[in-house]
Subunit: 237 residues, 2 copies
Amino acid sequence: MRSIDVCLTPALLNLYDIEDSIVVVIDILRATSSIVYGIDNGATAIIPVAQVEDCLSYAGNGYLLAAERNGEVVEGYDFGNSPFSYTTEKVGGKTIVLTTTNGTKALQMARERAHQVVMGSFLNLGALCDWLRAQDKNVLLLCAGWKDKFNLEDTLFAGAVVAELRKDFTHIDDSSVAAEDLYECAKGDLRKYLHKSSHSHRLAQLNIEEDVKFCLQLNICQAIPVLVGDALVALKD
Amino acid sequence: MRSIDVCLTPALLNLYDIEDSIVVVIDILRATSSIVYGIDNGATAIIPVAQVEDCLSYAGNGYLLAAERNGEVVEGYDFGNSPFSYTTEKVGGKTIVLTTTNGTKALQMARERAHQVVMGSFLNLGALCDWLRAQDKNVLLLCAGWKDKFNLEDTLFAGAVVAELRKDFTHIDDSSVAAEDLYECAKGDLRKYLHKSSHSHRLAQLNIEEDVKFCLQLNICQAIPVLVGDALVALKD
């Protein structure tokens, strides 16, 4: 028996037995999208940290520092969470130290117990699903949510993964059923669907419309960032 | 501004500010369905308690004792959680002391902070929505879930309420959007939709198919059970 579960927010992660699971961390707007794009563009590693202050301990030594709180770049840092900062020109061969509002927290919680932790986004959906299908492990799709609450964009991505994988798994839970059906409702126009979201209104105020469009692109990256020690690096088959 | 929020499991309730809200507790299979049906059939009151042992302290004195754990009647009790036990003949003029797996827990958590706590089910959907619409309060729809996890049937009912009320409210959260869209997917045949649920498989093993069909009927009751002190009683306008 192989199972797919969807954990709708990090606040529910303690309810799941993940010791033998691959956990896919999902923070579509924008942490895991930027991480996937950055690793795909040749960043050596991305080190997620929990607090803005933790970034500072890495200052100097050639690290790039990225910090975002409530959707905005923290003053004095190299950049924040926008995927447009993670181009080959900026990150190729570099190591980035990153803290974000929700994504880093989910990742830190997962790493304590999971068999393996990888990053998912629409950008690497196909590559991620192909790899997950080939492993002999249960899968937990962990939505980073928004301040421990449910959010639509992370759930839609979880649903996209369920839709791809369900025929290869024997058990899916209720939240997987829900996520898949929401994705079916939304997939014709993800951007339009997210306009229904409270998060969308908040993000519109932050003027990151271009980021949102970028993060909803399917399959422009092949990289699967995997957590090794303290750092996210490209998964090698 | 009036808001509707959907809290997908009791484990997330602490994230919501409910001091000025009406909380609708939802445990479709089967606690809140049975409570609505029992109050509609003339039960004087239903007293929810957290533990099976708490029921026993009410033994004698004319109380009926109802206890269910993991979907089954606890040995030696008058009845469990099946709505067919809550007929006029059995409960008219009686007070019932009830403990259930998930519903009672959600109710106990809500009562500590909410402005008012009422019970929702498909059986009283229309009456409940009419009443909620007429109050000048925010609404939190609290899904009892299954052992603190998301479940489909409670979320579908929350979605049905959102679909009824959204034009009278100015703000709905992401989980309300999701619940409403899932209800739109499911409403043509709720029973068939729930066959997709892991809970459905579990319940099928408990042989409560007739209960499930009963609990998915719309608008056969007018009663709105409201928590007053320790007891659920019929709401008087």
